[in-house]
């Protein structure tokens, strides 16, 4: 899946832009509502005025009729708004009175009621027409709609103008507030920037908002995990250095003894034998380190592709491989692995596991010891058991087994302490459980590897 995203702008911009946008939209919405409302009210009010003016004209016309005064009367214009207001009074179809800006023909075709019409040069007028008290009198009162619009524009202006000033002020205030709010984030990034690259101690901020707590806590837990990884790697390097340097130092010392001027033939022979043994030991150590390194690099995914392996066949093959070594030390290998037992795993890796177990049993048991290898299904689980008649281990020693390079004390036979790590690692890879206990059968150590059913 591929997500295409615009690059994220700063949090500041992300907070400020919607805030200002929202304020503008709400303000404009309020302005439109005010405007609509104001227009309706204004229409009502001004229509009321038209009606009022018409009523006045009607009353006045009734009185004027008594005076029997013929001819058209032109009313003077008395106010700046006057040119925008016009009226006409007709009597028996004749124009008897009009305002200066009114024409000679009736402004509206309607006898009674409101109409919006275009007059003169095409200006839009709102006209109210009504009859007089006597039906031969017709009164028209009109007002240019432009004047209404002018009022509406004035209202709109007075609503929108503050926004123009408010927006920059709001942007400035918002910018400051957001900046203040984001201060802990800046402190965090500053604290992170100031750290030495190797520093893995937790980040501590004096004041931390609750929103940042989870992030800082995750960060600290990440640091903690990295630190423990680094520590374990450092320990591994130190241990590996010791394990690798010691045989080499031994080889060197023994070789120098063999070369030494004072050495007699027996000493020389002894030293040369020890040199060879040292080389074998270093070789084995290097092989085990490489195996372990490969295993640790092996992704867990490889288990998904695990094939089915016959545990019995593997045990037989490895036991046959190791039999000559056992014979040379008068050790007895007893193998009980007749029926095939299929387990999930990799043929080579299961072989490495079995070899390490049998090899360990042989290595740490005295000459003439018995080693019993058993493959069976126990409570539905394919199980490999390797037991020996060696010295066994204390509970404490069993608990520490599998720490890389941990070796049980008091053994003349040098081991690297890596065999167990390898066994455990392969076990984990295929979901098999490795357990160490006391062997009731032979008196030494008992190791069981149990695959899931």
């Amino acid at each position: 899946m591929k997500l295409v995203r615009r690059p994220l702008k700063s949090l500041q911009a992300r907070l400020l832009a919607p805030l200002l946008g929202l304020v503008t939209v709400i303000w404009l919405g309020a302005a439109i509502m005010t405007l609509v409302d104001a227009r309706d009210e204004l229409d009502d009010l001004l229509d009321g005025h038209l009606v009022q003016a018409a009523a006045l004209l009607v009353v006045q016309q009734a009185r004027a009729a008594d005076d029997d005064d013929d001819g058209i009367a032109d009313a003077p214009s008395l106010h700046k708004y006057a040119p925008q207001v016009a009226f006409q009074v007709f009597h028996e179809g004749l124009l008897v009175m009009r305002s200066a800006n009114a024409g000679l023909i009736p402004m509206s075709t309607k006898d009674h009621g409101f109409a919006t019409v275009r007059l003169g040069k095409g200006d839009s007028w709102r006209v109210f027409s009504t009859r007089g008290i006597e039906s031969d009198v017709q009164v028209y009162v009109g007002e240019q709609t432009a004047s209404r619009n002018a009022i509406l524009w004035a209202i709109l202006h007075s609503v929108l103008l503050p926004l123009l000033f408010a927006l920059p002020l709001l942007a400035l205030g918002g910018w400051w507030a957001v900046r203040q709010g984001l201060a802990p984030l800046r402190q965090l990034s500053h604290a992170l920037r100031q750290r030495r690259p190797q520093a893995l101690e937790p980040v501590v901020l004096a004041a931390m908002p609750s929103e940042m707590r989870p992030m800082v806590e995750s960060l600290n837990s990440l640091f903690e995990r990295i630190e423990s990884m680094v520590a374990s790697e450092r320990r591994f390097t130190a241990d590996a250095a010791h394990e690798l340097r010691t045989p080499i130092a031994g080889i060197r010392a023994q070789a120098q003894v063999a070369l030494g001027a004072g050495a007699d033939e027996a000493q020389r022979q002894h030293a040369l034998q020890a040199t060879l043994a040292g080389c074998d030991r270093a070789t084995r150590l290097v092989e085990q380190l490489l195996t372990l390194a490969r295993l640790e690099a092996a992704p867990a995914a490889s288990t998904a592709a695990a094939a089915s392996v016959d545990l019995s066949a593997v045990a037989r093959r490895i036991a046959a491989d190791l039999a000559p070594t056992a014979l040379a030390r008068h050790q007895t290998l007893e193998l009980e692995a007749i029926a095939p037992h299929a387990v999930a795993g990799d043929d080579m890796l299961i072989g490495v596991l079995v070899r390490n177990l049998i090899d360990n049993a042989m290595r740490y048991s005295p000459d003439g010891a018995r080693i019993w290898i058993h493959v069976a299904t126990e409570s539905g689980q394919p199980t490999l058991r390797v037991e020996d008649s060696g010295p066994g281990m204390t509970e404490q020693e069993m608990a520490r087994l599998g720490e890389r390079f941990y070796r049980v004390l008091g053994h003349e036979r040098p081991g690297s302490g890596l065999g167990w790590s390898i066994v455990k690692r392969i076990g984990n890879l295929f979901g098999a459980q490795v357990q160490v206990s006391h062997s009731d059968r032979l008196g030494g150590l008992a190791v069981s590897v149990r695959w899931p059913a």
């Binding site: 340097r245 045989p247 080889i251 010392a253 030494g260 000493q267 043994a277």
Partner: protein, 219 residues
């Protein structure tokens, strides 16, 4: 010179013991930290070679415990831990030298001789008492510039006495400095060696302090 070797690795320990013996050191070998501390506490050793990764008790703990008990035996730390902080810690805890494995046997011998020399306030490897000159590295002794042939024990005895010149050494002290484990020491062995040394060098070189022991005067 009697050296305590504390090393848990069988092959390396065996090689170092054999190699140091070839170089003329008397070597006792222990394989764990507890034994190392016990043996060093006896004060019978001229110097010690201490591995750090020892079973039962870590070498640094051994060192710390010894120095806390005011035991000043020179200690050469021989270890695989090569990180600078480890070295600093080792030296600060009282190690007199810090050597990372693997080490050349001859270099190890030279470093041990140097430690012993310095712990006895000597600036040079060669020791001189009057007309007698003793060169530990070459294991050579000369009287008025002429080489004198000494047996291993005679050389070691003279070396101990000259290192501790102007100080009286008891017979027990001399025996402890001279013989590693597994040697049956005749009750008059030291006297016999002293007698030989007086005959081969100068009759008045080694003086007997009755009831206490022997001494060599520097001038």
């Amino acid at each position: 010179m009697r050296i305590l070797l504390a090393e848990d690795d069988p092959m390396l320990g065996d090689g170092l013991r054999a190699g140091l013996r070839q170089l003329g050191f008397q070597v006792d070998w222990v394989r764990d930290g507890v034994a190392a501390e016990r043996e060093l506490a006896s004060g019978d050793y001229t110097a010690a070679v201490l591995d750090l990764g020892l079973p039962l008790k870590d070498g640094l703990d051994v060192l710390q415990a010894l120095r806390a008990r005011k035991i000043t035996t020179p200690v050469l730390v021989l270890t695989a831990r090569d990180a600078v902080p480890d070295r600093i810690r080792g030296l600060d805890l009282g190690a007199d030298d810090y050597v990372v494995k693997p080490v050349d046997l001859h270099e190890l011998g030279a470093r041990l001789r140097s430690l012993v020399r310095r712990s006895h306030g000597q600036m040079q490897d060669a020791l001189r008492c009057g007309a007698v000159l003793l060169e530990p590295a070459a294991r050579r002794v000369s009287l008025n510039g002429e080489a004198v042939t000494l047996s291993t024990r005679e050389f070691d005895l003279l070396h101990v006495l000259m290192l501790n010149a102007d100080r009286v050494m008891s017979r027990e002290q001399l025996e402890q400095q001279l013989y590693s484990w597994g040697y049956e020491v005749d009750s008059n062995a030291i006297e016999v060696h002293i007698h030989h040394l007086r005959r081969k060098l100068q009759p008045d070189l080694i003086q007997t302090v009755r009831g206490i022991g022997y001494t060599v005067l520097r001038t």
